[in-house]
Amino acid sequence: MIAHDWFVEHRTDFVARTLEPDEERSFTEHLGGCADCRAAIARLEQELAWLPMGLAPVPPRPGLTRSLVAGALGERRGPPRWLVPFALAASLALSLGAWFWALGTTRAFERQLAQERGRLVEELAMTRDTLGIIREAGMVRHASISMGKKQGGMLIFADERTHRWNVVVYGLPASEPGEVCQFWFITDSGMVRGVEVKTDGRSPALLTLPMPPNARNVMGAALTIEPMGATGAAPAGVELAHLML
């Protein structure tokens, strides 16, 4: 049992996130039952709100802002994610070939290619990390969904390491006009609205989802049909699937 003084003393550390992981967990649990600390934390967060702006701004690469908007809107960018490792492997092979060729040419070109190779190796590591959500998922859950003659399902790969899920929704027909297919997190404090899932009856929808902010305990997920534009905190439409971890 940690004395309350400890929490009072470490409030700023909690906001700054300098506590060790187990201390941070204890603090988060404590906040659930302590209104004083919650209020103090909110105040500290406001007081330090602008601190991150002490860093000089980094100009975005050309095209990044457009791609960020598209990404937030859920529009597909670039090739499907599963294609990326193959494309990277191919370009890495090409780059390595070019690298050997460059040995016979100028040193500057050689350096440039080595840098390129380093960048690709990093990209590959990152892609592996994304795939890691599937490969190293601590938990995989599946629910079958029947819609008329269509048989589909929802598959969840939960990676506790990075607190992210890869969710595959497949085999569902395109939504009716005025309706959307809505993903929900089931948490210990109720349903939390996730993202809209674009279904087209042909290709599966693949979503990489961070855990909802402020949700302490995510216990499962649900898929419903909701009226388009609905923003309610709880589902109002037909439930297609319901999965508990």
């Binding site: 002490g54 860093l55 000089a56 701004p57 802002t65 960020l68």
Partner: protein, 212 residues
Amino acid sequence: MAVPDSQHRLPRPDAPGPRLLSDAREASLAAGLIARDERALVQLVEVATPWLLAVAQAMLADRDEAEEVVQEAFTIAWRRVDLFDQSSGRLMPWLLRITRNRAIDRLRGRRRRVDKARRLLALGGLGAGSAAPVEPDEAGTPGWQVHRAVHAALAALPPDQRDVVQLAYFEGLTHSEIAGRLAIPLGTVKTRLRLAFDKLRGGLSSLKDWVV
């Protein structure tokens, strides 16, 4: 080890004076997001991206990964704008907080600090990864005045306190990791951080406006 240096990039004397993004304007941006107005999202992305990239890149020392984190922040802002509490905060600090938390989660989840330290060394120091060149018309950069004020508050800290803030707040290290990095006792780390944050809270409390 130093706070990212921007003193040499202060606005030119003849640069246009700053304009405040009023509470009303920011509220209308937030209202636009809530109303699913894509133009509000576009405006927000244009204004906020350089600052969010700075936070994510300083932590992760990896541009591609930083862009992923910024993407996550905007995705949350667009899809979960219901989580934004207009009564208790501003849009920009909310985005900064999401970005910083996501970057720290990644750092801790992946245990990649060793790699990162190696990359930072290769980059030639702490400032290099986070303080990329800025366009010459900084005074026109939305938020530049806020940056100057925060920078001044950081610069006013004694060097030993500034160093622990740099490692803790801008690089996401925990108390014990900072103690290891600087080879100083854990208690000293905590004391320095506490003193520094007390000063920063005082120094930043007057900053209310997001300035364009």
